[in-house]
């Protein structure tokens, strides 16, 4: 299928959603280790200082922002009155995702 904007927006939205669903149980499990007290949590936090992990964290935030952007696009298409600019919502979603990704990168 030709890669026009709407199709790319869909693909990003779907792939980011699947990757997030795979990531979330890991995220929940790691946080749940806090139940074992501050010491176990600190061990985990030390691990997250590693550059590869930081990069992965940034990647996950980007995925989340991308998925949110795509989701807002779908909600706008389905619930707002129809206008021509709705086709450029994909661009708006992409910029939003990028902005959030940058903010997180700066904070890292």
């Amino acid at each position: 299928m030709s890669a026009h904007t709407g199709y790319l927006a869909f693909l990003v939205h779907r792939v980011s959603g699947v990757l997030l669903t795979l990531f979330l149980p890991v995220h929940f499990f790691a946080l749940g280790s806090a139940l074992e007290g501050a010491a176990a949590f600190d061990t985990f936090l030390a691990w997250t200082e590693r550059p590869l992990v930081k990069f992965a964290e940034w990647g996950i935030v980007l995925l989340l922002a991308a998925h949110l952007g795509g989701g807002l696009r779908v909600l706008a298409l389905e619930f707002l009155p129809w206008r021509d600019w709705q086709k450029s919502l994909a661009a708006a979603a992409a910029s939003l995702a990028l902005a959030v990704g940058l903010a997180f990168a700066l904070a890292l």
Binding site: T21, F28, F41, L45, L64
Partner: protein, 112 residues
């Protein structure tokens, strides 16, 4: 699954999406704010433990994810893997249970 049930899934997906849009925004803003200057367990837990407000917020977050993620996976499994029907729906229910279980364990661990 009846068309009525499928319609209800669509409604639940959009409703949970709206809740998540809010939760994710708050979560991302909070994370960007709090990771400045590094993190330590003691630091994090001192802010979060005993906070009923944040507990309620993250419990809602977990609930919304438990609804949204499996319903979102359903068309992916059907359209890209050709997996449809009762076995698929049961699998997705299990995914929901795992997310809810691990999620609430984390919420209890961090906030209570």
């Amino acid at each position: 699954m009846t068309f009525r049930a499928q319609t209800f899934l669509w409604v639940a997906q959009r409703a949970s999406a709206a809740v998540l849009a809010l939760c994710v925004t708050v979560h991302l803003a909070t994370m960007i704010y709090s990771i400045r200057g590094g993190l330590s367990a003691a630091e994090i837990l001192s802010r979060t433990r005993g906070s009923v407000g944040w507990f309620a917020f993250y419990a809602l977050f977990v609930l919304a994810v438990t609804v949204h993620a499996p319903i979102g996976l359903r068309p992916v499994l059907g359209e890209w893997l050709g997996w449809r029907g009762r076995s698929c729906d049961l699998f997705l229910l299990v995914v929901a249970m795992i997310l809810a279980g691990l999620g609430m364990r984390a919420v209890f661990g961090v906030f209570l």
